[in-house]
């Protein structure tokens, strides 16, 4: 099953979570063959925006998006697993700079892309300023997400 793991983030504190998950998975020995044969693609994006649609055009049968989220409804490190359709109603400004994951998925759905195969893994974060360090709660959750996704990926 052709699968994509896309870590979304920035170089700043807890917002690096998506990148850390992707980088860690890419180094797992169990996944080496899957990556080498093109069955599994692991990538990172800093501002996917509309480029998310270009990934969707690549006919992946399963897509995992990993990103920091800030809901203020849970403690830092809380892990959310959501289907794409559950997040397309989330707020997100459509501007020349800021086209977030949520409106991009909404646009993808309108354009007829299959978004049923997208699983969104969000990790609650609290720090995202350049002068801050990633929190220990976030680091723990990154390890948990890596472990859980690794268990799924070795079965594809």
């Amino acid at each position: 099953m052709k699968t994509l793991v896309l870590g979304i983030g920035s170089p700043f504190a807890d917002d690096t979570a998506g990148w850390l998950v992707a980088d860690s998975l890419a180094q797992q020995a169990e996944l080496t063959d899957l990556i080498a044969t093109g069955v599994l693609t692991i990538a990172t994006e800093d501002r996917p925006g509309l480029d998310l649609l270009c990934w969707l055009e690549c006919d992946y049968q399963q897509i995992y998006l990993i990103d920091m989220v800030k809901t203020n409804l849970a403690e830092t490190g809380n892990i959310y697993t959501l289907r794409a359709k559950e997040i397309i109603g989330f707020s997100g400004m459509l501007s020349s700079h800021n086209l977030g994951v949520s409106p991009s998925l909404a646009l993808a759905e309108v354009l007829g892309f299959n978004i049923n195969n997208i699983e969104f893994w969000g990790i609650e974060g609290e720090r995202y300023r350049p002068d801050q360090q990633i929190s220990s709660a976030m680091l723990n959750s990154v390890s948990k997400v890596v472990k859980e996704l690794l268990n799924k990926l070795i079965k594809i």
Binding site: C54, S95, S96, N98, A106, L107, V110, L111, G112
Partner: protein
């Protein structure tokens, strides 16, 4: 006894523009009494906190001014520094800086055309709503902006906060195979870009005429992206170093962004339409023919034709990027040697939405002593307000408020303003007793 009828239209947050700004319009007895774009994002003090910093620190930092035009800020800053220090960059580095800027144009112009402007002209509230009826057009926009984004990543290292540019050139050279891989994508994009011109030419344009002085950079031989010459619609031509002899910057009470006008307080217009109007002769003949085939006569003073100008510029940018990629060869010296000297210099580039201007002063150790950074949006703000007065009057001030609001937003979005860019220009004066 006469009765005064006052209508207030307040748009607290302008949608589909970058940053946070508001619009206040007051109409009294069918006359606009107040029309103000309020930029209320907090100032960011870039110019002040970069004083005392080293050149490459500054080049990295100015990328943070704007999420969509970081390379414009980096390129203009590097150009100014290289002038001050007497560093001659190689033809290779000049080509790569142009390619990088073209990537930024391609990304920004096609995103604006398809997802920010077209919904206004076609009567949709958003690009997502428009995509239901125009899926192929929106997908085309996605493809083209993605291409631009990839070119930015090629040379900037990443599209957000790029860090590939340095004093004297670049930190590294892309492999030849990586650059050549863009050739088929750029060739395919030309077909898309031609269709975009045909698509936007058929949009319904409101009839309006702008009377403002138009200003653009002027390149000696080609369409302007990185250049030091300035040209205006009044026939003036001068070097960017003479900018302050023609235009001024000032604070407007309603805005955290500086405003720019002529010295006698007249608005000035920068961006794709003036660029095309004033540099039509710099386009290759076949692109001039494509522009003429739209049925629009350039120079045009209908500001709504900006969307067509963006599409024509996009085609040129793709074609020019293709030429650079075809001629590309790897170099192991992507940067000229660094050297420092005290001095001062101006530099400018054409960002997608207008001229971005820098003036840097350095001491002999290469530390910045004074910095001025002028963003295109802040320079266009008085023009936007004046344009709104004209456009709303033409539209009909007796129309219902919601129609006036939508039209006003369309007029503002037409400038593709980047409010976050513009909101960092307050001068900080501290008096201590």
């Amino acid at each position: 006894m006469s009765v005064t009828k006052t209508t207030k239209i307040e748009v607290p947050i302008l949608a589909r523009v970058e940053g946070e700004g508001a619009l206040d319009i007051e109409i009294e007895n069918n006359e606009i009494k107040k029309c103000e774009l309020r930029i209320y994002e907090p100032p960011r003090y870039f110019e002040k906190f970069l004083e005392g910093r080293e050149p490459n620190e500054i080049i990295d930092a100015v990328a943070r001014i704007c999420g969509i035009c970081p390379l414009a800020y980096q390129t203009a800053a590097a150009q100014a520094m290289e002038q001050v220090f007497g560093i001659e960059i190689s033809p290779w580095a000049k080509d790569m800086r142009l390619l990088m800027m073209l990537g930024q144009w391609i990304h920004s112009q096609y995103l604006h055309v398809h997802l920010l402007a077209a919904p206004d002209f076609l009567g949709y509230r958003s690009g997502i709503e428009m995509a239901k009826d125009y899926p192929n057009e929106v997908l085309r926009g996605v493809r083209l902006q993605h291409l631009g984004n990839d070119i930015m990543k090629l040379l900037g290292g990443r599209s957000v906060h790029p860090n590939g540019v340095k004093l004297g050139g670049f930190w590294s050279s892309p492999k030849e195979s990586t650059v050549k891989a863009f050739i088929p994508r750029l060739e395919a994009a030309l077909k898309d870009a031609k269709e975009v011109i045909e698509f936007v030419a058929k949009l319904p344009f409101p009839d309006t005429t702008i009377p403002f002085k138009q200003v653009s950079l002027r390149h000696p031989t080609e369409y302007p992206v990185i250049a030091s010459g300035v040209i205006t619609s009044d026939g003036e031509e001068f070097d960017i170093a003479d900018w302050e002899h023609h235009f001024k910057e000032f604070h407007a009470p309603q805005s955290t962004a500086l405003h720019s006008t002529t010295l006698d307080d007249k608005p000035i217009l920068l961006g794709p339409l003036p660029r095309l109007n004033l540099n039509f002769d710099r386009l290759p003949k076949h692109i001039q023919d494509m522009a003429n085939a739209t049925g629009i006569t350039f120079p045009s003073n209908n500001m709504f034709h900006s969307v067509v100008a963006r599409a024509i510029e996009g085609y040129w940018a793709i074609e020019r990027a293709l030429e650079i990629c075809q001629a590309y060869t790897y170099t192991d010296t992507p940067s000229a040697p660094e050297q420092y000297a005290a001095g001062s210099a101006w530099a400018a580039v054409e960002a997608p939405r207008g001229i971005q201007i820098d003036k840097f002063d350095f001491d002999a150790q290469g530390k910045a002593t004074h910095i001025r950074i002028s963003a295109p949006t802040s320079q266009n703000l008085p023009c936007m307000e004046a344009d709104l007065r004209i456009a709303l009057k033409n539209f009909g001030l007796d129309r219902p408020n919601h129609e006036l609001q939508l039209h006003a937003e369309m007029v503002v979005r037409n400038y593709d303003p980047c409010i976050s860019c513009s909101a960092h220009f307050l001068t900080l004066n501290v008096v201590r007793n």
